[in-house]
């Protein structure tokens, strides 16, 4: 990836109403199940040549509501998010690279249910541009695929015809709209 002088300066905060943080996982070997988190926040700080990205999601805000036993299993159960014990899902970058071609590469530490693992995400960015109301907005879209077992989310049931009820691989995507604060 081409890297030049990083094009962001200043401090940016997430516009959570126009941003998405979601995951997708194969369900029953026939379909892709998607869910997103409603309560998210993030900061991007660009200082000289260094960019830092940090964000969090409230585990309980995941878009899994019905039926209640399904939500209970996924959100509070220890098979998945264990949100009572570990309410936050967090990310902190260790390296952010923005290419002159609009590509973005972010490495950092993703913590789910108290377990921290390094992940590398790739995607694109959009430079800050002024909206009709005088706010500068930038875009950052990132994608990565992880194995949920790395965060001790080991729940599984074999299918009668072979295969797994729930995929081990989980695609995580973040579409972040960031507003400049200074």
């Amino acid at each position: 990836m081409a890297t030049g002088v990083q094009p962001f300066t200043g401090r940016y905060e997430l516009d959570p109403n126009h941003s998405t943080f979601e995951f997708a996982v194969t369900h029953m070997n026939v379909s892709t199940f998607r869910a997103s988190f409603a309560d998210i926040d993030a900061r991007l700080t660009a200082d000289g040549d260094t960019i830092e990205l940090e964000g969090r999601a409230i585990a309980e805000s995941v878009s899994i509501a019905e039926p209640p036993e399904f939500r209970e299993h996924v959100v509070r159960g220890t098979d998945f998010f264990a949100a009572d014990a570990h309410p936050l899902i967090t990310f902190r970058s260790t390296k952010v690279e923005l290419g002159e071609d609009g590509s973005a590469s972010v490495t950092g530490e993703l913590t789910i249910r108290g377990v921290s693992r390094s992940v590398a995400a790739r995607g694109t960015y959009q430079l800050p541009t002024e909206d009709p109301f005088g706010t500068y907005r930038a875009g950052l879209e990132l994608r990565t695929t992880v194995d949920r077992r790395d965060w001790d989310m080991d729940w599984q049931v074999p299918l009668p015809g072979g295969g797994d009820a729930l995929g081990w691989e989980v695609e995580i995507t973040a579409q972040l709209e960031l507003t400049r604060k200074d």
Partner: protein, 180 residues
């Protein structure tokens, strides 16, 4: 039942001390809540001093030994535990086989002004305490944006307040089971 509370912050007006005040408001009436305030008096760990440990260290070891459980509130410095707190625990951990924290029920909470509520420091601290031999509760209480988190000595967010009650109750329960 005696619960010893330790704040990892030395700052007057510390949000972690405020978090311990909020915890005190949640404890059952029959539990004695004691806030230990002498973190600043603990000198840097030095093996040469172990034969005659400084009085502040002896005092901390005694306070832990005579308590049934510990509640520690930690800030986060550079994604980890404050040096003063780690240093105090290093003193307490020695000698390992008979240290005052062995099998002691401990819970960790934390507050910071960031989005994350010292969640990494809490994870580090649980790891350190488990290494020392404490019975550490596997729960976070990340109080984020701590400058806005408290009102009249309690946590403003009812979800966080409920979590704090659960943590304190589990700590008391764990200490009672150990005593039984």
């Amino acid at each position: 039942m005696r619960l010893l509370a330790i704040s990892g912050s030395l700052r007057s007006g510390s949000y972690n001390s405020a978090l311990l005040d909020a915890a005190e408001a949640e404890i059952p009436a029959d539990v004695e809540f004691v806030l230990w305030r002498d973190l600043a008096a603990i000198p840097a760990f030095n093996e040469d001093l172990e034969r005659a440990p400084p009085p502040s260290v002896m005092s901390l070891r005694r306070e832990i030994a005579r308590s049934d459980a510990l509640l520690i509130a930690t800030p986060e410095y550079n994604r980890s535990v404050p040096g003063a707190l780690k240093n105090a625990l290093d003193w307490v951990s020695r000698p390992f086989a008979t240290n005052a924290l062995r099998n002691k029920p401990v819970a960790v909470v934390g507050a910071s002004q960031s989005l994350f509520g010292a969640v990494w420091a809490q994870a580090e601290l649980r790891k350190i305490l488990a290494t020392i031999g404490a019975r550490v509760q596997d729960r976070d209480l990340p109080v984020a944006q701590a400058h806005e988190a408290f009102t009249e000595g309690r946590l403003r967010d009812p979800r966080l307040a409920a979590r704090l009650r659960v943590i304190v109750a589990a700590l008391v329960d764990s200490a009672e089971q150990r005593a039984a």
